[in-house]
């Protein structure tokens, strides 16, 4: 199995509402960084939740590490999740625990390591994200970027095989973006992880990805290496890469024609 995650013909909607995925296929190769991009609201976060087993597909299969997620028992699912790390958009640090305790959390929960070992591991992970000195702070005292880096340290605490990043660069200043991007690439290579990034920061994401998928309207509208994507022929991909409001993907929310709004009804 070269792909750690395989998604086949995925159909999904929340509670019978608008369909979020209408037949999506993708595979995440091991050891590489795969990015999923697309306009806001196309359900990129939902995809991560499906992979993590927090939601079940209406149709199609989500296979992680050779196991179909939907069929796993609760215990097996938890075992699988230990191999995955997830970085939430806002970090989702535990507000009542210090930075150190946050990173130590998975270690305390899932291992029987001694306090010294846990301390060493936590400090190593924090050092990797450049925040070893902040171990005594509380999450409320951190800036957004720092919180995300701590969350990243927490996500790699158990040395998972797959890390999923939910919009890690969104809303960050250029320096933090640059730091995070390099961090993601380095961690992937040094620790031999597989990374799955969900983002719409085109330039940064393309700079570190090995493979890119573009999702829009519940379907995959383009895929390929960053090279291929930049020179992709399809109009949807072009619109996204260039960031233009004109194009096949609707920018304006559906409404009455402009004339009617101001002139017609009055």
């Amino acid at each position: 199995m070269n792909a750690i995650v395989e998604v086949q013909d995925l159909h999904f909607s929340y509670n019978g509402g608008k369909p979020i995925f209408n037949g999506v296929n993708l595979s995440v190769p091991r050891g590489k960084i795969t990015t999923i991009m697309g306009p806001s609201g196309t359900g990129k976060t939902t995809l991560l939740r499906l992979i993590g087993g927090q939601a079940e597909p209406n149709q199609g299969r989500v296979i992680v590490d050779g196991q179909e997620v939907k069929n796993l028992s609760r215990r097996a699912l938890y075992q699988l999740r230990k191999k995955m790390g997830m970085l939430f958009q806002n970090g989702a640090l535990f507000t009542h625990l210090s930075v150190f305790e946050n990173v130590a959390f998975p270690l305390r929960e899932h291992t029987n390591l001694s306090e010294e070992m846990i301390r060493s591991l936590v400090l190593i992970k924090l050092q990797m994200v450049g925040l070893r000195g902040a171990s005594g702070l509380m999450p409320a005292e951190l800036s957004g970027g720092m919180a995300r880096r701590v969350a990243l340290a927490r996500a790699i605490a158990l040395d998972p095989e797959l890390i999923m990043y939910d919009e890690p660069l969104t809303g960050q200043d250029p320096i933090t973006k640059g730091v995070l991007v390099k961090l993601i690439r380095n961690l992937n290579d040094i620790l031999g992880l597989t990374s799955l990034i969900v983002s719409h920061d085109v330039r940064e994401a393309l700079s570190i990805s090995d493979y890119v998928y573009i999702l829009a309207g519940g379907k995959m509208v383009g895929e390929g290496t960053p090279e291929e994507i930049t020179h992709h022929g399809s109009p949807e991909v072009k619109q996204f890469i260039e960031g233009s409001a004109e194009g096949p993907m609707a920018y304006n929310y559906a409404a009455r024609p402009l004339e009617d709004e101001f002139v017609g009804g009055g």
């Binding site: 927090q54 938890y78 999740r81 230990k82 995955m84 997830m86 806002n90 989702a92 535990f94 929960e109």
Partner: protein, 260 residues
């Protein structure tokens, strides 16, 4: 007319769904709670947060309630020349009704709302979700300790409430209004039966503890992840808890007076 029926029906259905969700949450909190040595510190933390930190409001309220009861009771009983029955009056009112009910409602206001807000916020900021993704069951780690913490704390708080309220009545009745201390206590002793009055009051407190904490936990878990949503949830915790406590109090009292 049909539109009203429709709304009523929908309202009924949503309420039933709510109860269903609450029931499932409770079942999970009760059943998925093994692992005692590891999670015991969590329980202790929650008993502290819900019980110990509620002590100040409980003690102050009970003191005042005892004092007021004694004051009012004395003035009314004196008209019948029955001022020495003040002891029994206060003791029975407190142990049978006021103790469990008032403690439960105060608890809902202080600890219940804090539990609701905490759980609601943890859900809104995806802390519960991230816990799940780290293969840690948030029900075991977050919800269940808070539930058991409240369940254990409320009877303890009620006991303290009862004792302090009666002490407050003693202060007013004996020290201030000049009743005879010996009569006060001996009349009380002969009128208050441990099993029927004190113990039944504790049973009520145990039931209330379960219900109030259950409501608090469920409202937090089910809150909409916005600031308005959490505010609404905390309000609902207090209102629903108060109604549930008063309603259950009536039911329990009926059963107890009828001799179970």
């Amino acid at each position: 007319m049909l539109a009203q029926m429709d709304t009523l029906g929908q309202y009924g259905l949503t309420t039933v769904k709510q109860y269903g969700k609450a029931g499932i949450l409770l079942a999970r909190a009760l059943l998925r709670w093994p692992n005692l040595p590891k999670n015991f510190p969590l329980l202790v933390q929650q008993i502290y947060a819900e019980g110990v930190l509620s002590l100040s409001i409980i003690i102050i309220s009970s003191l005042f309630i005892g004092m007021v009861l004694a004051l009012q009771g004395y003035h009314t009983l004196s008209k019948f020349g029955a001022a020495q029955q003040l002891g029994p009056l206060v003791a029975l009112s407190v142990t049978r009704e006021l103790g469990p009910v008032v403690t439960a409602i105060l608890f809902a206001g202080r600890a219940g709302t804090s539990v609701t807000a905490e759980i609601g916020l943890m859900k809104a900021t995806e802390q519960l979700s991230s816990m799940e993704m780290m293969a840690v069951d948030p029900t075991q780690r977050v919800i269940a300790p808070r539930f058991w913490g409240g369940f254990v704390s409320l009877p303890l708080l009620t006991l303290i409430f009862n004792a302090v309220a009666i002490y407050g009545a003693y202060l007013v009745g004996v020290q201030w209004l000049g009743l005879e201390a010996g009569t006060f206590w001996s009349n009380m002793e002969s009128s208050v039966d441990f099993r029927v009055d004190v113990l039944n009051g504790i049973i009520k407190a145990i039931v209330f503890g379960g219900v109030v904490t259950w409501i608090a936990v469920h409202q937090g878990y089910d809150a909409k992840p916005t600031s308005a949503g959490i505010a609404a949830a905390t309000t609902r915790t207090v209102v629903h808890s108060a109604l549930a406590v008063l309603g259950l109090d009536f039911v329990l009292t009926t059963m107890m007076i009828g001799g179970w």
